[in-house]
Symmetry: C2
Subunit: 416 residues, 2 copies
């Protein structure tokens, strides 16, 4: 293959952490820009750094040298390359891991390393950048943002969030339609649980459902606010007097005043993942039990679970495009020799929405969590302000129709 | 409004039972054909017979006299008119209810009564037909099939099933993509629970997910087969040796040999709905607990819940069209003076799929449940044959894009 540009060496892309519906669009973006820059080989790490350490690499040319491959990848949810939850230890503690990573890079003539992920993944980019600087290595390291949780700092928002928000808001509209079809003789309380361990961005997205054809959720509980059990019970009782179908959005990460998760009150699973985070589930179930016990109302628990981060069939076109552009932009930065950066999205304006790419020192980003601004939660503590809606609405705009084969969305998958 | 045809009197349409993503397309079909036939006023019962008894009627002309109204209604999930779960008592037991129904029909000059629903709703059509015959009433009664459960007899399939199947199969593909993104060091078992109290049509739809880009579910448990706990545990163990992400489809109605629901082994909710059916939930949770206890594997439970019957954003075009045609066909039958019928779908052929409308004596349909033929379940008891796939595949074909407003599917809703 002839080089169009003059990029020296090959590149590698990895995906890390929980996947999203649009994380692969970033791979497509890096790939497309890489070929523009004359990169000869674009490698993918199979299962992130974990795979890289085992030299488990694939050449992306085999999949992406056609327009159809790129279009299919943009519509494929979850990490095409495979993800991992590998926490890179400090270089002082485990120098051999760093030596191994750099030796694999040298072996494959890899001069630029792209890592798509959230907080924990940006820590990997930071540490590799620091190690390279301390050891006179010339390779560059670029972080590309990805998280449905939307909790990365500095960037206006994260690729992945818009599509999750679109899925959540669409599902709320459908759940509310469904709930309102019946005219129950006694109140039915529907508790919809969204992801978001420490931040309420995804839960807040339920607010987007309200409009001229939908009254929206009756309450939205973010982890940014202390969850007051009595206030919750009272609110449910009060709404149930006015209407017999009550729909509530609640974060898996809702916490009571003493710091315990709501799900721990009813017995959460208590599992811990590789990053040391408690695996939460059951907040809505816990609240449901409380309502049944207190009022005997009928309840229904709906956990949006992994679908909220995997439902590419209703992904936001804006999100896919930004995810793609972030990849292109990161590759362009690498081609200029930049390193230790994360691509960020900077909103220029709303109405019409305009957003540009930029980049930022990854040291300022890794391990910092951005929560929903408290001033975007209304005084009642359970609904979102217009500022939030103006922030979130542009991110869910537009659709990219799946490529349907045999009636189902088609995905690009790695060969065995 | 001038009559195009010569239909005498007005008509009324009701919706009953659990809603679907396409139940409103049938309303649109009846309405369109009614106007062709010269029906002056098309009434909708608000919340089915329950509302009808209270004369809670709306004129559909207000909503549907534009092409946009019809198109929006076709894309609106759940019962636009409102549904109910009213079980019509026998005429001998409660003659006053029948007298009331016929007096409301006479007051509004309603000569044809359309009821869209499943088994229990067809019982209403049957009883009203019989009462009319026994009492010399001239009104006609037409049943229109609707159920995600696909459990009505005689008809090849039911409007509503195809869209639910498309949602389920799409969700399985996305759940499997998501699950396979990680390379967990110990097995992760994902249990996806589908609706279907006594029949496994919806659970079986998970089989559609398998294809060249997806290996599909690792086991599918229908209520048609006795659920053998030991065999399940052994299968999970066996699959988990080969691969670390195991995805299982299980019906909420799975039962063990002594007739108890699986969820009852772990303590189901035990609630009973208006038709006397036990409200089930927790089958997948019960199985998850068993797996954790036995193996300590990580598990994830995903209940597709009401979204599988409400997700019109990924409805099947075939399903919407058939649902619409069933409404048209029913109206045409009523115009010819037919009564006591349910519209049925008759498959003429597959490849290319061809299906025609017909009708059938509602007495042969009410209260009869059609289960998945046992010969469509493979000998292993946990996967579906090609015959099932050939049956189900045409029903999920095609898409009807939602009308997106502010980034979300738009719905038609009744005015307050």
């Amino acid at each position: 293959m002839e080089s169009k540009g003059k990029f020296k060496g090959n590149i590698v892309i990895g995906q890390s952490g929980g996947p999203t519906a649009v994380i692969n669009a970033t791979v497509a973006g890096v790939y497309t820009a890489a070929k523009e820059e004359g990169v000869e080989k674009v490698y993918g790490m199979v299962h992130g750094v974990e795979g890289f350490l085992k030299k488990d690499l694939i050449g992306l040319e085999e999949y992406l040298d056609t327009g159809l491959g790129i279009e299919l990848l943009k519509r494929t949810p979850s990490a095409f390359l495979g993800s991992c939850r590998f926490k890179l230890p400090a270089a002082e503690a485990k120098p051999e891991i760093y030596e191994k990573i750099f030796s694999v890079m040298e072996e494959f003539n890899i001069t630029a390393f792209f890592y798509i992920g959230g907080n924990d993944s940006m820590d990997t980019v930071k540490q590799l950048t620091d190690y390279a600087a301390a050891n006179g290595k010339k390779q560059v390291f670029i972080g590309l943002p990805k998280t449905v949780d939307n909790d990365l700092p500095v960037t206006d928002h994260c690729p992945g969030f818009g599509s999750a928000a679109k899925y959540i808001a669409t599902s709320f509209k459908e759940i509310i339609r469904d709930a309102q079809s019946n005219s129950p003789s006694k109140p039915t309380i529907i508790l919809v649980e969204t992801m978001g361990r420490h931040t309420g961005w995804l839960t807040a997205a339920a607010a987007l459902a309200a409009g001229e054809d939908c009254e929206g959720a009756d309450a939205i509980y973010l982890p940014e606010k202390v969850f007051d059990i009595e206030a919750f019970i009272n609110h449910v009782e009060e709404v149930a007097k006015r209407k017999h179908t009550v729909v509530i959005a609640v974060s898996e990460g809702a916490k009571v005043a003493d710091g315990r998760f709501v799900c721990e009150l009813g017995g959460g699973s208590g599992n811990v993942d590789a990053f040391g985070h408690t695996q939460l589930s059951g907040c809505a179930h816990t609240l449901s039990d409380m309502i049944v016990e207190r009022f005997g109302y009928k309840t229904r628990v709906i956990e949006l679970s992994t679908l909220q981060r995997a439902a590419s069939h209703i992904a936001s076109l804006t999100d896919i495009e930004e995810s793609y552009l972030a990849g292109c932009f990161g590759m362009k930065a690498a081609a200029r020799g930049e390193t230790g950066l994360m691509v960020i999205l900077e909103r220029v304006q709303n109405n019409p929405y305009l957003c540009r790419m930029n980049y930022y020192d990854v040291h300022q980003i890794a391990n910092v969590e951005k929560t929903v601004p408290l001033e975007w939660i209304k005084e009642d503590g359970i609904s979102m302000t217009d500022e939030f809606l103006e922030y979130a609405r542009p991110l869910i705009m537009g659709e990219l129709l799946p490529l349907f084969v045999h009636g189902l969305p088609s995905h690009l998958v790695r060969k065995k």
